[in-house]
Symmetry: C5
Subunit: 295 residues, 5 copies
């Protein structure tokens, strides 16, 4: 997540340089084609880039809206994970009459958070094992879906608490509800990660922007001569940077400056839960990188 108020224009140019080169070549070609071929035969109607502009505006608008919605939905889900983590820990610590098990379950929950994060980001960090018992590690090792496996152990332990009368039916229900909600959040993240935004939208947008830039340059070169190459690229850049900017948000779990700050959120949960357990050894919050973004 970007935190700097002003990003550098150079960063945007860096993001789009490949497309910029293609656009400048196309614009130059369009200029020469019109100047030495078309201009002797016919005029190019202004309505062509105007109408194309409308189509592109719709496309880019649609892509940006849907991308932002995915990004914000992912953020909401992680917000829910924060909330449910706190409620789960509060319930375990205050309502369970077996302090040791309660503490073990809270720690195991921190492990769940880190396992989920690692999975969503396709990283292989093993931080999550830090909060697991030896038995847990063995059990989790058997499953391909690590975070789901941790939830299962939580349920197993919950059943044990219930059978040993450390909690009653009402508390059992309350805590189990939290596990159900965490399963929903976990599945929601996987859904966003695994569902690819319909490729045809971003592909057609690219094709149409290119078509627009070419016809636009053809039209304005009738007035502006070789300056049309520069203006063609400039307007194309406006559209391209908007499109690329939006598409950045489509995969909110990627590890880049536009992605969600999962490191930061996971650490916040860790700190909150350890403080609730009255632990002494609390880790530091995650620091921004270059005061520019946070991961």
């Amino acid at each position: 997540m970007l935190i700097a108020q002003n990003i550098k224009l150079s960063r945007v140019l860096l993001d789009t340089w490949k497309v910029d080169v293609i656009m400048i070549i196309s614009c130059t070609a369009a200029y020469f084609v019109r100047e030495y071929l078309i201009s002797y035969h016919f005029q190019i109607s202004t309505i062509i880039p105007t109408v194309l502009g409308t189509a592109i505006a719709f496309f880019i608008g649609f892509n940006n809206n849907q991308a932002y919605d995915r990004w914000w939905e992912a953020r909401k889900i992680w917000g829910a994970i924060v909330n449910d983590s706190r409620s789960l820990a509060r319930n375990l610590i205050n309502f369970v009459e077996d302090e040791e098990t309660a503490k073990r379950m809270v720690c195991r929950h921190i492990s769940f958070i880190y396992a989920l994060k690692a999975n969503l980001r396709n990283t292989v960090d093993e931080i999550y094992t830090k909060y697991l018992t030896e038995f847990d590690k063995l059990e989790v090792g058997k499953h391909s879906n690590k975070h789901n496996a941790i939830l299962n152990i939580q349920a197993m332990e919950l059943q044990k608490l219930y059978k040993e009368n450390k909690i009653d039916g009402f508390k059992f229900m309350e805590i189990n509800e939290m596990l159900v909600k965490l399963t929903d959040s976990m599945g929601g993240c996987e859904r966003i990660k695994n569902t690819i935004f319909p490729t045809t939208y971003s592909y057609l947008t690219k094709v149409f922007i290119w078509l627009f830039v070419v016809t636009f340059t053809l039209v304005i070169s009738q007035d502006m001569g070789y300056w049309s190459i520069f203006m063609g690229w400039l307007i194309g850049f406006v559209f391209v940077s908007t499109q690329i900017n939006g598409m950045r948000l489509v995969n909110p779990f990627n590890i880049n400056a536009s992605g969600l700050p999962l490191n930061n959120i996971a650490r916040t949960i860790e700190i909150n839960l350890l403080q609730m357990l009255n632990e002494e050894d609390i880790p530091e919050p995650v620091r921004p990188i270059n005061d520019e973004y946070i991961l």
Copy 2:
């Protein structure tokens, strides 16, 4: 679901070739009509295709938004099915004091997933019977709505567990809630499948695009001569491909490259549940076809 980053333009042309032919014939006719009839009598106002363009932009935008919403809602429902399947299995395996029945119910649930998928896609695969007992198959055979019948058997077995004190009231409630949620998801899928997107919208859009292409060609042929046939088709193609692309998403359960990857999702559930049962014989995840899409 498409997974390739770049689709081939040829695929888009293949999707639209019929409409392309109609458009090229219409543009050619428009060109000749204007050249040899209209041009001697009057000018055609540029404002006509401009205003039509606005109307079409609204139509296509509306259709695409609603289509994408249906597609994404369907995806969300299947996401909920994944979540509830995991929670149901976790509850059954950990909380029921009758391991055999629990296992039977988890297997029957896998069968529910496959029966629902077959129904939504109008296929007749019998995979779902694999996880049913002989009694189940007989019972399910009596109903036209197979997946609903399976839920009924689950409820029957749940009642038996309760009466035999294998679960108490609290657990009974938790598990029954899962059946209620699965009924909601199942009904949500049927709603999207059975509710036809208002036909007038897609029909009128087609008529208006045609009208636009014709008036557009009439207008630009005043400047561009026979090149207007090509440009008329090109701009028409932009609108038509957008419209067709959007309408692909309207029926998310169809078995095509744009449809939801139900095979993949159902298999994920199957793998998760079998691992939770500590089964040895776990099937492979579903593989993409041509690295291009996944069903």
Copy 3:
């Protein structure tokens, strides 16, 4: 609900013929006024219909979006009714230890569905009495809101089951929750039926379309002579048909080709529930009319 892929253009013309006549008269008048009065004094600026076009596009877009939302919300509510009907029946049949009462309550629920449908469509069919006992009919007769009265009898019978220990507190809660959800769906339908879409929106849209058609014809008649009458009507038709098409969806419970297929949905529920009761005498699904639409 329309089910045919292609509707006939003649149907659209039939829907709009009154407005078409008014538009053609207005366009003709506009043509003559400009030709024999205005043309000697001043030019009419193209910007006038262009700006009006923008205003109208907003209006029609807004109306269509809100109308579709009402229609889709109504569809969702009926989807929820289907789901809750199945869950209610499943709970009653499997969890109640008094088969006869359970069956009576499931039948009474079918009656609730038909009573609600009749109320929403302002019809007086008495199908719903078929599934009621004599006592029920008497009791329901006292109320102006028939469907609400049926829910009350269900609650009364539920209380009796509870007192006679045919269900325990947990089951009581689960079944009562279903009655609460059905009350919500029933109220949601009444809300959509009774809340009139703000009249000013559709009224002003009509006035502005007329204004647009007149100024549009005035402007293009400067280029196109009497052909402007035809083009003025054609563009007006595009806007009018879109507007009328959208307004069709505003009242989703009306009995017409665009309305929701309540007959069909109610019958689906009836079939599902009777099959769950192992009844022999199952009615046929509702058939489409002319393969064109379904009621």
Copy 4:
């Protein structure tokens, strides 16, 4: 809520006459300034009102969408109040084994509805006291928030019923849930009433419409002479009436033709609940005023 299909144009003119006068004066001034000052020095570019038109279209569209959303949300909340009132009454009447207290609580609930309505509309009608006991009136008198006070008495009485074993824990929960939901609806209404729609939006819209009308008149007066005064006003009227029309919906609890028909909804609840109590003396439904609107 307006119920007449056609509102009179005169009503719209009446609503906007002040702005109309300002616009006509501005247009006239613009005409003379251009005719006798500007026309000797330079042309005014058509692009100025065109671009302003885009900005205004966004503003008005945004205002209308948000206003309608507030109105529809308010309607949904009152729909929820209707639903929860019925469910509450059904639960009280059927599940509580103390008929008298149940009846008293249902009546007190009608009083809650009227107290909430009076508060939302800032009226001082005392209808709500009709359904209160002497004790209630005394208690409610101590609070500034009357409707919240009534809910508290309901909770007090519920506790008494529970302690006296007239209801068990399950029923206690079900009924208390209804009180929680009613608290949510009540708070939702207060939120919409007390949150002022950001003033800057409506203010800037007014300023920009005025700016648009002036530049528009300046531009078209180059073609149309003094007729530009009329056309300038006409187009301005289109924007102004849309804006004013939308802003009407922003405060849905105001007592005017566009507000929600709270009288009607409250009466519907009253009738439903009294019929459920088998009362003889049922009041009449609320009648529309002039067949034009309903309050």
Copy 5:
């Protein structure tokens, strides 16, 4: 929150003066560049600012919509806090058979509200300690997240009430549900506060508005001479003020005229809860500042 119907134009100018100066300098530069350099070589096409206008309209529209959504979501969350505060207090006061503890918990809840407000606004007011016991203050002092710490004490006390049989399981659940909901609202606020609206959107919007103003001035200066400087700024001002106005809503917890009136809402909760406790000493509602806005 602004409450005055009309804000002063001077306030808007004050908000934008820095950008206004930059725009006037840019417009002047553009005028001179065109007049003394470009005009001898080529015409600048009108289509350039037209197309840019479309892109900017999308950007500003997108930013405003998302900003308003954040603001309204934050308002909804605080609405939920109001509701849950009332329900929590009602439950505690009426259902707990230990008046003193109930009262202590209600007071502690007021403290929670003030602690949450102080955190969201980054202020250090210590009002919240007023309603805490000495033990509470000590306990809360150990945590970095004060409001979460208060919720933990509430849970601890709830557990004590349950163990001492001052509440039964059903009531325990109801009250604990309220704590869960308050955790969700608290987390929702933190999410909105900590998630920075994607910086690239507001940055690119600024760059594109500047680009638009320059090309717009270049184009209209062909018609209007040095008056183009004034008109260029005027149109730029329309876009800039809209953009700045929208961005004001992005951080709804900031202490300024556009922020949410948290002082007012917190005080409303305080008054409601103290009245429910039959306290004598009720504080005054928060007064607006200059009759212009409320904090």
